[in-house]
Assembly symmetry: C2
Homo-oligomer: 210 residues x 2
Amino acid sequence: MPRPLKGATVDSRDRVFRAAATEFAARGYAGANVDRIARAARLNKAMIYYHFKNKGALYREILRDMFGAVRTAVLEVEAAEVSPQEKIRRYVEAIAAAAEARPHFPPIWLREIAEGGEHVDAATLAYVRDVLTALGRIIDEGRRAGVFVAIHPLMVQGGIIAPIMFFLATARLRKKMERAGAVPSAAIPRDAVVTHIQRLTLAQLEGRIA
Amino acid sequence: MPRPLKGATVDSRDRVFRAAATEFAARGYAGANVDRIARAARLNKAMIYYHFKNKGALYREILRDMFGAVRTAVLEVEAAEVSPQEKIRRYVEAIAAAAEARPHFPPIWLREIAEGGEHVDAATLAYVRDVLTALGRIIDEGRRAGVFVAIHPLMVQGGIIAPIMFFLATARLRKKMERAGAVPSAAIPRDAVVTHIQRLTLAQLEGRIA
DNA sequence: GTCTATAAATAGATAGAC
DNA sequence: GTCTATCTATTTATAGAC
């Protein structure tokens, strides 16, 4: 991908990327509209095809960015010189932080799950694998230290990432429910959720839930 | 809505409904294609508009069916003459069963969360409210009996429904990961997941995770 | 790098015959 | 209830000027 040399419009590619992330989050892959992306990026449609091969390539680059960020954060957590329990706490926090740094992350994640990972390319798949492998090593480390029991990493991962994405993505829906009087109070602080999931995850890994 | 009197094609409305559920699950609301729905239902497009006002009305009816089924099952659980703990176990099982009875349920649920409940009408919202209210009553009952601690029903609900939908919806993606060698084994039995979530939910309600 | 204009295909929705 | 045909708008993508 050629990058511009002059300073005037160096960021047009980035503007497309950001606008596309918002559009894919709001309407899904098939529902996303290239014209709307161009308008939001204050560019014309042709510029999108100048920077990206097509709609699919643009979308896949967003997926790689999302899961690449999670992978980087998780590998750093695994490498830290702390107890397995502390690694799990940081693992949960790292995933929440990566998702919060990108408002489009939770919606796109939910939609991609719904599509069975149809747009997940080899690079993204490798990132996911690395994350699961790192989690598996943290669990193994805890087992060797005698503090964790054996649980399938996917089971642990599901118990972490699904509630996190749920809470981050339902912010708008919970507001709607609260306005409609469907629930007394629907506001749950971000830290309360992360702390709760940290405790829940540790409880299951330490064999305290059976 | 007029229903046909002759037996020949009594089920054309139902065929549209089923085909639409599959299409919305696979491509999302905006991405769903009325022509494809018609083809899958072995009908022409005009028949869809004969039975349903438009694409949106068709989609909303599917949402009502999904959440109505959950509501019915949950209210039945709440009314049973069993302990609060057993009600929680049945609550988890009821939600899993309602989702499994409709293959389109998990994907559409995930997508609707991602869209911030944009297509959730008053009837569906009322179903969701009833479910949360019933869960709140079960929690209160447990608190009065001295077996549960105080937790926000939404926090409990998120810990139940998010992992369930995640596991049901990721079946295809986990197969893809397994084929790609991204994870040693990605097959997790349905009952193992439900049991795990039942235990996790009870552990938090019984204050055993702090 | 950025634009306008447009091609070519596909979308949701309806008219009207049977 | 079911169909074919079609209207109108929208969509992805590209050509070609600057």
